[in-house]
Symmetry: C2
Subunit: 146 residues, 2 copies
DNA sequence: TGTATTGATGCATAATTTAGCAGATTTGTT
DNA sequence: AACAAATCTGCTAAATTATGCATCAATACA
Protein backbone atom coordinates (compact mmCIF):
# COMPACT_ATOMS: atom_id res chain seq x y z
CA UNK A 1 0.00 0.00 0.00
CA UNK A 2 2.45 2.57 -1.17
CA UNK A 3 -0.36 4.79 -2.38
CA UNK A 4 -1.49 5.83 1.07
CA UNK A 5 1.77 7.60 1.60
CA UNK A 6 1.36 9.99 -1.28
CA UNK A 7 -2.20 10.88 -0.44
CA UNK A 8 -1.39 11.29 3.18
CA UNK A 9 1.50 13.60 2.55
CA UNK A 10 -0.68 15.60 0.22
CA UNK A 11 -3.18 15.90 3.04
CA UNK A 12 -0.45 16.95 5.43
CA UNK A 13 0.47 19.70 3.01
CA UNK A 14 -3.06 21.04 3.06
CA UNK A 15 -3.50 20.68 6.79
CA UNK A 16 -0.26 22.39 7.68
CA UNK A 17 -1.03 25.34 5.47
CA UNK A 18 -4.52 25.83 6.77
CA UNK A 19 -4.20 25.05 10.45
CA UNK A 20 -1.61 25.61 13.10
CA UNK A 21 -0.16 22.20 13.85
CA UNK A 22 2.05 22.10 16.89
CA UNK A 23 2.59 18.39 17.51
CA UNK A 24 2.72 15.24 15.47
CA UNK A 25 -0.12 13.99 17.60
CA UNK A 26 -2.28 16.86 16.35
CA UNK A 27 -1.42 15.87 12.84
CA UNK A 28 -2.42 12.28 13.43
CA UNK A 29 -5.85 13.44 14.55
CA UNK A 30 -6.31 15.83 11.65
CA UNK A 31 -5.33 13.11 9.26
CA UNK A 32 -7.76 10.72 10.87
CA UNK A 33 -10.52 13.26 10.30
CA UNK A 34 -9.60 13.28 6.65
CA UNK A 35 -9.68 9.52 6.44
CA UNK A 36 -5.98 8.84 6.75
CA UNK A 37 -5.37 6.59 9.70
CA UNK A 38 -1.79 6.25 10.79
CA UNK A 39 0.43 6.52 13.83
CA UNK A 40 2.70 9.21 15.15
CA UNK A 41 5.71 7.23 14.00
CA UNK A 42 4.55 7.42 10.42
CA UNK A 43 3.89 11.12 10.70
CA UNK A 44 7.35 11.59 12.12
CA UNK A 45 8.77 9.93 9.02
CA UNK A 46 6.53 11.94 6.71
CA UNK A 47 7.75 15.10 8.36
CA UNK A 48 11.32 14.08 7.77
CA UNK A 49 10.59 13.14 4.16
CA UNK A 50 8.79 16.36 3.41
CA UNK A 51 11.28 18.47 5.27
CA UNK A 52 8.67 20.08 7.46
CA UNK A 53 10.12 22.47 9.97
CA UNK A 54 8.96 23.64 13.34
CA UNK A 55 8.95 27.40 13.71
CA UNK A 56 10.31 28.96 16.86
CA UNK A 57 6.73 29.80 17.62
CA UNK A 58 5.99 26.08 17.60
CA UNK A 59 4.02 25.37 14.44
CA UNK A 60 5.10 23.21 11.55
CA UNK A 61 5.76 24.81 8.17
CA UNK A 62 6.20 23.34 4.73
CA UNK A 63 9.68 23.23 3.30
CA UNK A 64 8.34 25.09 0.27
CA UNK A 65 7.21 27.92 2.52
CA UNK A 66 10.51 28.29 4.30
CA UNK A 67 11.89 30.81 1.86
CA UNK A 68 8.72 32.82 2.16
CA UNK A 69 8.93 32.50 5.90
CA UNK A 70 12.42 33.92 5.96
CA UNK A 71 11.56 36.80 3.66
CA UNK A 72 8.43 37.65 5.57
CA UNK A 73 10.00 37.40 8.98
CA UNK A 74 12.97 39.50 7.95
CA UNK A 75 11.46 42.18 5.77
CA UNK A 76 7.75 42.57 6.34
CA UNK A 77 6.71 45.44 8.55
CA UNK A 78 2.93 45.33 8.36
CA UNK A 79 0.15 43.39 6.71
CA UNK A 80 -3.39 44.50 6.07
CA UNK A 81 -6.19 43.51 3.76
CA UNK A 82 -8.96 45.50 2.17
CA UNK A 83 -11.52 43.45 0.33
CA UNK A 84 -9.65 41.00 -1.81
CA UNK A 85 -6.47 43.05 -1.68
CA UNK A 86 -3.58 42.51 0.69
CA UNK A 87 -1.22 45.39 1.30
CA UNK A 88 2.15 44.42 2.67
CA UNK A 89 4.56 47.00 3.96
CA UNK A 90 8.21 46.01 3.84
CA UNK A 91 11.59 47.41 4.62
CA UNK A 92 12.78 49.86 1.98
CA UNK A 93 13.91 48.15 -1.16
CA UNK A 94 12.89 44.67 -0.17
CA UNK A 95 9.39 44.66 -1.63
CA UNK A 96 10.42 43.05 -4.92
CA UNK A 97 12.07 40.20 -3.10
CA UNK A 98 9.07 39.66 -0.86
CA UNK A 99 6.71 39.75 -3.84
CA UNK A 100 8.88 37.24 -5.65
CA UNK A 101 8.78 34.96 -2.65
CA UNK A 102 5.01 35.20 -2.50
CA UNK A 103 4.76 34.35 -6.17
CA UNK A 104 7.17 31.48 -5.77
CA UNK A 105 5.09 30.02 -2.97
CA UNK A 106 2.19 29.62 -5.39
CA UNK A 107 -0.40 30.15 -2.72
CA UNK A 108 -3.77 28.99 -3.88
CA UNK A 109 -5.53 32.17 -2.86
CA UNK A 110 -3.08 34.54 -4.52
CA UNK A 111 -3.96 35.65 -8.02
CA UNK A 112 -0.81 37.70 -8.33
CA UNK A 113 1.31 40.38 -6.70
CA UNK A 114 3.13 43.54 -7.65
CA UNK A 115 5.85 45.35 -5.78
CA UNK A 116 6.89 48.93 -5.37
CA UNK A 117 9.89 49.88 -3.30
CA UNK A 118 8.56 49.19 0.15
CA UNK A 119 5.08 47.93 -0.55
CA UNK A 120 3.66 44.77 -2.04
CA UNK A 121 0.14 44.46 -3.27
CA UNK A 122 -1.18 40.93 -3.44
CA UNK A 123 -4.49 40.20 -5.07
CA UNK A 124 -6.59 37.49 -3.50
CA UNK A 125 -9.30 35.48 -5.22
CA UNK A 126 -11.83 36.85 -2.76
CA UNK A 127 -12.17 38.68 0.51
CA UNK A 128 -11.94 35.41 2.35
CA UNK A 129 -8.96 34.51 0.23
CA UNK A 130 -7.26 37.75 1.18
CA UNK A 131 -8.02 37.07 4.81
CA UNK A 132 -6.46 33.64 4.62
CA UNK A 133 -3.39 35.13 2.97
CA UNK A 134 -3.05 37.59 5.81
CA UNK A 135 -3.47 34.75 8.22
CA UNK A 136 -0.75 32.66 6.63
CA UNK A 137 1.66 35.56 6.36
CA UNK A 138 1.11 36.44 9.98
CA UNK A 139 1.74 32.87 10.94
CA UNK A 140 5.01 32.92 9.01
CA UNK A 141 5.91 36.25 10.48
CA UNK A 142 5.49 35.21 14.06
CA UNK A 143 8.78 35.16 15.82
CA UNK A 144 9.71 34.15 19.28
CA UNK A 145 9.38 37.15 21.55
CA UNK A 146 11.64 36.92 24.58
CA UNK B 1 23.66 32.37 43.39
CA UNK B 2 22.09 34.26 40.53
CA UNK B 3 25.52 35.08 39.23
CA UNK B 4 26.11 31.62 37.89
CA UNK B 5 23.32 32.10 35.41
CA UNK B 6 24.91 35.07 33.70
CA UNK B 7 28.31 33.47 33.42
CA UNK B 8 26.85 30.23 32.24
CA UNK B 9 24.80 31.84 29.52
CA UNK B 10 27.84 33.77 28.44
CA UNK B 11 29.69 30.47 28.17
CA UNK B 12 26.82 28.96 26.20
CA UNK B 13 27.10 31.85 23.78
CA UNK B 14 30.76 31.10 23.21
CA UNK B 15 30.30 27.36 22.99
CA UNK B 16 27.43 27.50 20.53
CA UNK B 17 29.30 29.79 18.22
CA UNK B 18 32.46 27.76 18.21
CA UNK B 19 31.20 24.19 18.28
CA UNK B 20 28.32 22.32 16.78
CA UNK B 21 25.99 21.54 19.66
CA UNK B 22 23.23 19.13 18.79
CA UNK B 23 21.72 18.22 22.16
CA UNK B 24 21.30 19.87 25.52
CA UNK B 25 23.25 16.98 26.94
CA UNK B 26 26.23 18.00 24.80
CA UNK B 27 25.94 21.47 26.17
CA UNK B 28 25.91 20.23 29.75
CA UNK B 29 29.20 18.46 29.14
CA UNK B 30 30.81 21.42 27.40
CA UNK B 31 29.73 23.64 30.25
CA UNK B 32 31.14 21.24 32.76
CA UNK B 33 34.48 21.40 30.97
CA UNK B 34 34.39 25.15 31.40
CA UNK B 35 33.60 24.87 35.07
CA UNK B 36 29.90 25.42 34.94
CA UNK B 37 28.17 22.47 36.51
CA UNK B 38 24.45 22.26 35.94
CA UNK B 39 21.77 19.90 34.73
CA UNK B 40 20.07 19.48 31.39
CA UNK B 41 16.91 21.05 32.80
CA UNK B 42 18.77 24.24 33.53
CA UNK B 43 20.26 24.29 30.07
CA UNK B 44 16.79 23.84 28.63
CA UNK B 45 15.70 26.98 30.44
CA UNK B 46 18.78 28.87 29.38
CA UNK B 47 18.05 27.95 25.81
CA UNK B 48 14.53 29.28 26.16
CA UNK B 49 15.76 32.46 27.82
CA UNK B 50 18.40 33.11 25.22
CA UNK B 51 16.10 32.19 22.38
CA UNK B 52 18.49 29.62 20.99
CA UNK B 53 17.12 27.82 17.97
CA UNK B 54 17.81 24.45 16.49
CA UNK B 55 18.61 24.56 12.80
CA UNK B 56 17.03 22.03 10.49
CA UNK B 57 20.45 20.54 10.27
CA UNK B 58 20.28 19.94 14.01
CA UNK B 59 22.65 22.38 15.64
CA UNK B 60 21.72 25.17 18.00
CA UNK B 61 22.17 28.78 16.90
CA UNK B 62 22.15 32.03 18.83
CA UNK B 63 19.11 34.24 18.49
CA UNK B 64 21.44 37.05 17.50
CA UNK B 65 22.67 34.98 14.60
CA UNK B 66 19.24 34.09 13.32
CA UNK B 67 18.95 37.13 11.10
CA UNK B 68 22.36 36.38 9.67
CA UNK B 69 21.34 32.77 9.27
CA UNK B 70 18.31 33.75 7.23
CA UNK B 71 20.23 36.15 5.02
CA UNK B 72 23.04 33.70 4.44
CA UNK B 73 20.81 30.74 3.77
CA UNK B 74 18.65 32.71 1.36
CA UNK B 75 21.11 34.86 -0.52
CA UNK B 76 24.62 33.51 -0.31
CA UNK B 77 25.80 31.54 -3.30
CA UNK B 78 29.41 30.84 -2.46
CA UNK B 79 31.97 31.50 0.23
CA UNK B 80 35.71 31.44 -0.06
CA UNK B 81 38.62 32.87 1.83
CA UNK B 82 42.03 34.04 0.73
CA UNK B 83 44.38 34.92 3.52
CA UNK B 84 42.47 37.07 5.94
CA UNK B 85 39.87 37.97 3.35
CA UNK B 86 36.53 36.29 2.90
CA UNK B 87 34.80 36.66 -0.43
CA UNK B 88 31.09 36.01 -0.37
CA UNK B 89 29.10 35.67 -3.56
CA UNK B 90 25.42 36.50 -3.23
CA UNK B 91 22.36 36.74 -5.38
CA UNK B 92 22.28 39.90 -7.46
CA UNK B 93 21.44 42.96 -5.42
CA UNK B 94 21.46 41.26 -2.06
CA UNK B 95 25.08 41.84 -1.12
CA UNK B 96 24.39 45.04 0.84
CA UNK B 97 21.82 43.24 2.95
CA UNK B 98 24.13 40.34 3.60
CA UNK B 99 26.98 42.66 4.52
CA UNK B 100 24.71 44.56 6.87
CA UNK B 101 23.71 41.30 8.53
CA UNK B 102 27.35 40.32 8.97
CA UNK B 103 28.12 43.67 10.52
CA UNK B 104 25.10 43.43 12.77
CA UNK B 105 26.20 40.04 14.03
CA UNK B 106 29.36 41.64 15.40
CA UNK B 107 31.43 38.55 14.87
CA UNK B 108 34.63 38.73 16.84
CA UNK B 109 36.81 37.78 13.90
CA UNK B 110 35.32 40.28 11.47
CA UNK B 111 37.09 43.59 11.23
CA UNK B 112 34.60 44.93 8.72
CA UNK B 113 32.85 44.26 5.45
CA UNK B 114 32.02 46.03 2.23
CA UNK B 115 29.44 45.13 -0.35
CA UNK B 116 29.15 45.49 -4.11
CA UNK B 117 26.09 44.32 -5.94
CA UNK B 118 26.52 40.59 -5.69
CA UNK B 119 29.72 40.27 -3.69
CA UNK B 120 30.66 40.93 -0.10
CA UNK B 121 34.20 41.24 1.08
CA UNK B 122 34.70 40.59 4.75
CA UNK B 123 38.03 41.29 6.37
CA UNK B 124 39.14 38.92 9.08
CA UNK B 125 41.61 39.62 11.84
CA UNK B 126 43.85 36.88 10.53
CA UNK B 127 43.92 33.92 8.21
CA UNK B 128 42.62 31.73 10.97
CA UNK B 129 39.99 34.33 11.70
CA UNK B 130 38.89 34.28 8.08
CA UNK B 131 38.74 30.51 8.20
CA UNK B 132 36.54 30.58 11.26
CA UNK B 133 34.27 33.09 9.57
CA UNK B 134 33.92 30.78 6.59
CA UNK B 135 33.21 27.95 8.98
CA UNK B 136 30.47 29.82 10.81
CA UNK B 137 28.85 31.05 7.61
CA UNK B 138 28.85 27.57 6.19
CA UNK B 139 27.28 26.28 9.36
CA UNK B 140 24.55 28.89 9.07
CA UNK B 141 24.13 28.15 5.42
CA UNK B 142 23.65 24.44 5.88
CA UNK B 143 20.16 23.40 5.02
CA UNK B 144 18.45 20.12 5.32
CA UNK B 145 19.07 18.15 2.15
CA UNK B 146 16.35 15.63 1.44
C1' DT C 1 2.38 -18.58 -10.59
C1' DG C 2 6.00 -18.68 -7.06
C1' DT C 3 9.66 -16.17 -4.98
C1' DA C 4 12.66 -12.42 -3.94
C1' DT C 5 13.15 -7.51 -3.22
C1' DT C 6 11.82 -3.06 -1.94
C1' DG C 7 9.15 0.17 0.48
C1' DA C 8 5.78 1.44 4.02
C1' DT C 9 3.88 0.95 8.51
C1' DG C 10 2.83 -0.27 13.33
C1' DC C 11 4.48 -1.41 17.78
C1' DA C 12 7.38 -0.80 21.36
C1' DT C 13 11.03 1.75 23.12
C1' DA C 14 14.69 5.02 23.29
C1' DA C 15 16.14 9.71 23.07
C1' DT C 16 15.28 14.42 23.74
C1' DT C 17 13.01 18.32 25.50
C1' DT C 18 9.75 20.61 28.61
C1' DA C 19 7.32 21.44 32.93
C1' DG C 20 5.78 21.07 37.97
C1' DC C 21 7.31 21.37 42.39
C1' DA C 22 10.16 22.21 46.35
C1' DG C 23 14.25 23.84 48.30
C1' DA C 24 18.02 27.14 48.27
C1' DT C 25 20.02 31.66 47.14
C1' DT C 26 19.81 36.40 46.23
C1' DT C 27 17.80 40.88 46.50
C1' DG C 28 15.19 44.42 48.56
C1' DT C 29 13.03 46.71 52.59
C1' DT C 30 12.36 48.13 56.95
C1' DA D 1 19.80 41.98 61.21
C1' DA D 2 15.17 40.07 60.08
C1' DC D 3 11.80 39.18 56.99
C1' DA D 4 9.50 39.06 52.45
C1' DA D 5 9.62 38.61 47.59
C1' DA D 6 11.69 37.21 43.58
C1' DT D 7 15.04 34.07 41.15
C1' DC D 8 17.37 30.13 40.23
C1' DT D 9 18.18 25.29 40.21
C1' DG D 10 17.83 20.30 40.76
C1' DC D 11 14.93 16.38 40.81
C1' DT D 12 11.46 13.89 38.69
C1' DA D 13 7.88 13.11 35.69
C1' DA D 14 5.43 14.25 31.51
C1' DA D 15 5.37 15.36 26.73
C1' DT D 16 7.23 15.10 22.29
C1' DT D 17 9.90 13.14 18.75
C1' DA D 18 12.93 9.55 16.67
C1' DT D 19 14.27 4.72 15.82
C1' DG D 20 15.01 -0.60 15.71
C1' DC D 21 12.66 -4.45 14.39
C1' DA D 22 9.17 -7.32 12.43
C1' DT D 23 5.47 -7.56 9.25
C1' DC D 24 2.71 -6.79 5.29
C1' DA D 25 1.79 -5.07 0.67
C1' DA D 26 3.27 -4.02 -3.85
C1' DT D 27 6.47 -4.79 -7.50
C1' DA D 28 9.98 -7.34 -10.21
C1' DC D 29 11.52 -11.27 -12.08
C1' DA D 30 12.30 -16.03 -13.15
Amino acid sequence: MAKRRTGRQEAIRRIVRSKSIRTQRDLVFELRDMGFTCTQATVSRDITDMGLRKLSEGAYVLAEDLHLQHMVSEFVVAIESVGNQVVIKTQAGTAPGVAAAIDAAELLEVVGSIAGNDTVLAIGRSSEGAASIVSLLNKLRSVRRS
